[in-house]
Amino acid sequence: MSAKQEHVAAAGSRETPCLSNQGRAARGGGNMATPREREAADYLEEHKIAELMHNLTSLLFFHRPEKPIPFLIAQLEKLQASREGATEPPCLFDLSNVDAVFGILDPTGQGHVTLVQYREALSTLGIKGFDDFPEGAAADRISLATFKREAKAGLLRSSATYKAV
């Protein structure tokens, strides 16, 4: 299952280097970036365009539909619907994947994983900004429930690639 993420992330990041470069150049440039460039960078960040493109590309490469354009339209419509609160946004990983990851980390079925494993696993799933010290961190035992909760919240965040309503 981790193969999915690796392949897709590697292939996806190959296709969207321009976006991250653009953002970095305009933001980090300071005095160097013209006002138009800054506008552009701000727009990209505000509407989470880079993440949107990244997610769309990942979905495309994983599913490899015969007709990419209708597929993209469908995904975008799902995203739009989720924004209005109706459903969940389209995401490459679902809860069964989260369970599977936990299962790999905890083959003996103890019901918990170490803090390091928890952090590694969530970053592999592409989740940023998760809770670094969740419940059970002190005892170095992150339970399945905590893991699932953080993973689910993180996945939701990374798929909701639109400006907050």
């Binding site: 975008l76 790999i104 980390l105």
Partner: protein
């Protein structure tokens, strides 16, 4: 979870991306977003994708007066079903719409209206953002006139995919302008005694001078997508050149992983060409024989098996070769940089297996030479064991007798072995040519650098992905 080691992108993904031009699609989506910056990007993207034809023509036809821009623009529009936009058309429509706010000067000379530049750009932008232009694309004739106009257009997000600049010697242009005047006797404007829309002789000369001043700057502005076409040839030829330029897609920024297969009899220069190509385009050079020898030197089980075959001189079984080959080709350096492969596949069975493993080459070349030439090249070649230099009795003789004395010949280069290898090659080559219908045959009975240039020209050309595979073409030196 060890994510750093051995990330392998399955070739299926790269092939899919190439086949459906995913990068171009994404690029267009992002570009439109950046230009229009809509408040609702998701909705905007849905509409953009729903429109169907994502890539519409955006062409500018520039040139001095009387160079035939109108004819070319009209022909292009017929061919591509784009909308034809001329300066006067924009003005006319605008006049009809904004009768109250008439800021347009009525004393216009020739085609250049005397209206303030910003307003002019705004008018163009309005026209181009109408539904028919968005849906079908546009061909701008004679717009922009100057570099400043071009830059202003770019600022509002109007930039062409292709620009055609027509060119002709001044005398011809002047002759044509005057001929136009004679052809339209009914258009004499009573007020100014000037032919309506057709300038007088002095006017033509001054317009030409103004044009030449601007042309140079415009050339610079659009140099990436511009092509200069001589319009003092026959109408059909001019149009043919223009059309071929417009139809070739601009070189994309998509990750470009060329996958090249080189076939050829022994002595045809496969290794040399492969090295040259790999060096210039930063591809991974894979020679099947070398790869097998390298693997057999490893102390793996596969290596041991292969060593036995190499030692005994029998050909290594197809399945083993394929195993070694797929392992090598799936490594990250091959998938990200692309590869040049020679010495494999040797027969149709290997070719099929390669195809099933999803390693589809993007360019296939058959290097051709007659058997006699092959024999000459191969049997007379030798290596100096101390310096590693390769010499040839006829083409590159050893410079001194001592070197000559120590030259060694590869036993596989002997006449008998060569005949065996040639026979093997010719037995398989026809079937292989059938497997790769888009392959290009190159005659290598010339110096290696000409061969390299020919191969390069085919590497660089973008092949039509949706067109039917072309037949095997013969490319000889001098023709292209």
């Amino acid at each position: 979870m060890d994510t750093a080691a051995r990330v392998r992108i399955p070739p299926a993904m790269a092939l899919y991306a190439e086949k459906h031009d995913i990068f171009d699609l994404l690029q267009i989506m992002v570009r439109s977003l950046m230009v229009d910056k809509p408040e609702e990007p998701i909705q905007y993207l849905i509409q953009l994708l729903r429109r169907g034809r994502i890539e519409v023509p955006h062409i500018m036809v520039l040139g001095p007066p009387a160079s035939g821009k109108r004819t070319i623009a009209r022909q292009l529009c017929e061919h591509t079903r784009a909308v034809h936009i001329t300066a006067s058309a924009v003005l006319k429509e605008d006049k009809a719409r904004l009768r109250e706010r008439r800021q347009v000067s009525t004393h216009s000379h020739g085609d250049t209206p005397e209206i303030p530049r910003e307003l002019w750009i705004k008018l163009i932008q309005q026209r181009l953002s109408e539904a028919d232009c968005i849906r079908r694309g546009w061909v701008l004739e004679g717009i922009p006139h100057t570099r400043q106009e071009a830059l202003l257009l770019q600022e509002v997000g109007i930039f062409p995919e292709h620009v055609v600049m027509l060119e002709a010697p001044d005398e011809i242009l002047i002759k044509r302008s005057l001929a136009k005047r004679k052809d339209h006797p009914s258009k004499v404007d009573a007020k100014t005694e000037q032919l309506q829309g057709v300038p007088s002789e002095d006017n033509v000369a001054s317009q030409l001078i103004k044009y030449h001043q601007e042309a140079h700057a415009l050339l610079r502005t659009y140099k990436n997508c511009l092509k200069v076409v001589k319009s003092d040839q026959s109408q059909d030829e001019v149009f043919a050149q223009v059309l071929s330029h417009v139809q070739c897609k601009t070189w994309p920024m998509a990750p470009h992983t060329p996958r090249v297969l080189l076939f050829g009899p022994p002595g045809s220069g496969k290794s040399l060409q492969a090295t040259l190509i790999a060096q210039k385009y930063n591809l991974v050079n894979i020679c099947c024989g070398e790869l097998l020898r390298a693997v057999s030197a490893d102390e793996t089980s596969v290596g041991e098996l292969i060593k036995q075959y190499l030692v005994s001189g029998e050909p290594v079984p197809d399945s083993m070769v394929l195993q070694v080959m797929t392992e090598r080709l799936s490594r990250l350096d091959c998938t990200s940089r692309g590869w040049v492969l020679h010495g494999f596949p040797r027969n149709i069975n290997q070719a099929k297996m390669l195809h099933e493993a999803n390693f589809i080459p993007s360019r296939v070349f058959f290097l051709e030479m007659t058997d006699e030439v092959a024999s000459e090249v191969v049997t007379l070649r030798a290596v100096d064991p101390i310096t590693g230099e390769r010499y040839h009795s006829l083409y590159k003789p050893a410079p001194s007798p001592e070197i000559e004395a120590r030259l060694r010949h590869n036993p596989q280069d002997s006449e008998e072995w060569l005949q065996i290898r040639l026979a093997q090659y010719s037995a398989n080559v026809l079937a292989l040519k059938d497997t790769y219908p888009g392959a290009v045959c190159v005659n290598v009975d010339q110096d290696p650098h000409s061969v390299f240039e020919t191969l390069e020209s085919w590497l660089i050309r973008r092949v039509a992905t949706t067109a039917a595979p072309s037949d095997v073409e013969d490319v000889k030196e001098g023709e292209s």
